[in-house]
């Protein structure tokens, strides 16, 4: 096909026109092969300019378009739309940035003009090698798999389920509700935890769009955003396995507690009346806080930060629930003495300090302490510690409650492996971006919520569940097709030798290995078009659409001339 390249130079008012001798640029471009028209225009991004371009593309019967104007971040999209409106494939267009990266940064007009000529020539060289690219549309399944039936998983399910969207909720235990079912009250409202969780469980049980699988584990989840194939196994039934398709997956596998066995100095498991926070919650929920001998304790020590050093992070919620424990105790056992051994009080956010201020005092004491150790002395529990001046001290108590660090659930690694997402070094699921994509993972369509993502309280877990729902509801709309990135990588079947280098460097798991053909295959729905695999591929089998070797080569040629 004959090429007809049209080149249009934007004066951008005086911004380009005053700094660059546009007529000189035009003269330099006119002799170039395939260039059929070179024109200047006052302001191409204006309504008038766009109309002019649309007319020109048709009138000149252009096959390729080069515009020399501002930065692509400003108006690449604008001009691509112009192309679309004039039935020119928008990828047969190249924008030469002669404003930000030439006119505005070059003092000497002659130099700027020369540079502009090179920039536009590079664009012309490049556009010659552009090919039409088409948007793809892919059918998607709006249904969602939620793994984990704790409060986060339940909340996500409730937010997501609707008449046109089914939710499959998979819980490994026999009942729903997770950790919250062990709590009597939630901080800070000190409202009934069972009210909260039972209402939600009831809602979920009566929601016909949510299919619940208890005693079940996910065995397989293969696919990509919009199209995952899931297989689950019923643990209470040898042969029971179920398969279904979903478009997105929410991981709400929750947390477990650091085992204080690992730090013998707390005497956990050896000394009577030394409990973990969860054991204490359960005891409290059962209605009676008692010692082994059946009597109520007269004094209780709460040890914060158990396992913090070992884990290397602050578990965020222990200070607050320790305060809640103090409330339980003071409310239930008259004249009880509660002592909190803490290192740094972590009570962030607007309402926590007030809760602390209201809890502290009377019989609730706070001691900043280090090197806490629990021994049995005179048939009583003795807490030995160093105070803030590093002075050794000790204190007796009838009962010790340990606040251990929050760890990812035991099956987190397995779930991560099955779903192909990564874990941070602490074992929590890794978010796509710590700051601006905390719910997403590097696999599009898989979201992480609640304590599976990191230690957090009920409110933040619920927010994350709602956030995951937001992500899914906004991107996976029933009946709407998915439009994946156009400028993706592709791997030539005839050149790939199957060294898997590309697979190792892809951050998104967008490349899989075809075992039958022994070659790598790009899943264009997942690929985000960074081009890392292209540079990694020694065979030259991988290439990036719209960023091909010969396209860049043309730019290089012009740059070195």
């Amino acid at each position: 096909m004959e090429r007809k390249i049209g080149v249009y130079i934007c004066e951008c008012g005086p911004n380009i026109a005053e700094k660059i001798d546009i007529d000189k640029v035009i003269d330099a471009l006119l002799p170039i092969e395939d260039v059929t028209v070179v024109e200047k225009f006052k302001l191409l991004c204006s309504a008038e300019g766009k109309k002019y371009l649309e007319e020109q593309i048709k009138k000149q019967d252009l096959t390729h378009l080069v515009i020399a104007a501002c930065s692509p971040t400003e108006h690449e999209k604008t001009f691509m739309e112009v192309c679309e409106n004039s039935d020119l494939n928008p990828y047969l267009f190249q924008l030469a940035n002669i404003r930000e990266q030439c006119a505005w940064i070059t003092e000497d007009k002659d130099e700027a003009t020369k540079k502009a000529i090179r920039l536009v020539k590079a664009a012309i060289g490049r556009v010659r090698y552009h090919s039409s690219l088409e948007k793809k549309e892919i059918e998607s399944n709006p249904d969602v798999l939620v793994i984990g039936g704790g409060i986060a998983g339940i909340e996500a399910s409730l937010q997501l389920a609707s008449s046109d969207r089914k939710v499959y909720l998979v819980e490994k235990n026999s009942s729903l509700g997770g950790l919250v079912t062990n709590f009597e009250k939630t901080f800070l409202g000190m409202k009934s935890a069972s009210d909260v969780i039972n209402r939600k469980i009831n809602d979920i049980n009566t929601n016909e769009n949510i299919k619940i699988f208890t005693n079940s584990e996910v065995e397989e989840a293969i696919g990509f955003f919009g199209n995952f194939e899931v297989k689950i196994k019923r643990t209470d039934n040898e042969n029971g396995s179920v398969e279904f398709d979903v478009g997105a997956i929410v991981l709400a596998t929750g947390s477990t507690l650091f085992n204080p066995d690992k730090t013998p100095r707390y005497g956990y498991g050896k000394l009577d009346n030394v409990l973990t926070s969860l054991e204490f919650e359960k005891m409290n929920l059962s209605g009676k806080i008692t010692l082994k001998n059946g009597k109520a304790p007269k004094s209780v020590a709460i040890i914060h930060c158990v396992g913090r050093d070992e884990k290397g992070y602050c578990s965020e919620i222990c200070c607050m629930y320790s305060l809640k424990f103090a409330r339980y105790l003071v409310d239930k056992i008259p004249n009880i003495k509660v002592t909190n051994f803490y290192s740094d009080l972590c009570i962030p956010g607007k309402t926590y300090q007030k809760f602390y201020d209201e809890t502290k005092g009377n019989n609730v004491e706070f001691i900043r302490s280090f090197d806490v150790e629990i021994i049995k002395k005179d048939n009583q529990l003795n807490i030995r510690y160093k105070d803030e001046n590093k002075v050794k001290k000790s204190l007796f108590a009838d009962m010790v409650v340990l606040s251990p660090a929050i760890e990812p659930a035991i099956d987190a690694s397995k779930v991560a492996e099955i779903t192909g997402i990564s874990q941070g070094e602490e074992g929590f699921f890794a978010e796509e971006h710590e700051k601006i994509n905390p719910i997403s993972t590097s696999t599009e369509g898989i979201y992480i919520v609640g304590c599976a993502q990191g230690p957090k309280n009920i409110s933040d877990s619920v927010v994350q569940s709602q956030a995951a729902a937001g992500k899914i509801l906004s991107s996976l709309v029933p009946g709407r097709k998915i439009e994946p990135e156009v400028k993706t990588s592709q791997i030539s079947e005839s050149f790939c030798i199957g060294c898997k280098t590309c697979i190792s460097v892809c951050s998104y798991g967008a490349i899989t290995f075809d075992e039958a053909k022994k070659i790598s295959v790009v899943n264009e729905v997942i690929c985000r078009g960074c081009g890392n695999c292209v540079a990694a591929c020694p065979s030259g089998a991988a290439s990036l659409k719209h960023s091909k070797f010969n396209q860049i080569y043309q730019e290089i040629l012009e740059a070195v001339k």
């Binding site: 930065s71 692509p72 971040t73 940035n97 404003r99 930000e100 990266q101 030439c102 505005w104 940064i105 070059t106 003092e107 000497d108 130099e111 700027a112 020369k114 540079k115 090179r118 920039l119 590079a122 796509e432 971006h433 590097s442 400028k487 460097v505 951050s507 985000r528 078009g529 960074c530 081009g531 890392n532 292209v534 540079a535 990694a536 990036l544 960023s547 070797f549 860049i552 080569y553 730019e555 290089i556 040629l557 012009e558 740059a559 070195v560 001339k561």
Partner: protein, 141 residues
């Protein structure tokens, strides 16, 4: 030298950080030498070392690869791979006794318009001192 030496520098700039930083240098009306011709790539990890070698062997007086600062990559980790590849390339060039100083890797963020200008100025000065690439006139390459 009779003719004034105007270096030819190829600048591979990643779309998200360095190209934006270069744009900001423009918006801020900073002075940047005209010797650098920017080539926009989505990620610095797209910059195949063979592309750099090509530019070098085509006679570029300098090649700049600029990307997001480590940890800031829009694609999470692309620039870490860029850095390793660049290091290997630099060793190859250096090992062959060629002028590896003609290659430069710099991290420029989207807010670092000034840094972009500084980097290009510095590099341009350096290349000017080095003189034209001997590769350019060598007919055997």
């Amino acid at each position: 030298m009779a003719e004034k030496f105007e270096p030819r520098i190829v600048g591979f700039l990643c779309n998200w950080c360095s190209y934006a930083g270069a744009d900001l240098a423009g918006t801020s009306k900073l002075k940047v030498p005209a010797s650098l011709i920017p080539i926009r790539v989505m990620c610095s990890s797209r910059v195949d070392p063979v592309l750099i070698e090509t530019a070098f062997l085509e006679g570029a007086d300098g090649v700049l690869v600029a990307g997001c600062h480590p940890g800031d990559c829009h694609y999470d980790e692309g620039n870490y791979y860029t850095r390793r590849r660049f290091a290997v390339l630099k060793k190859v060039i250096e090992g062959l006794g060629l002028e590896s100083d003609r290659l430069r890797l710099s991290w420029v963020s989207a807010s670092e318009g000034q840094r972009f200008a500084d980097v290009v100025n510095e590099f341009n000065d350096k290349i000017k001192k080095m003189g034209p690439s001997p590769v350019k006139k060598n007919k055997s390459l």
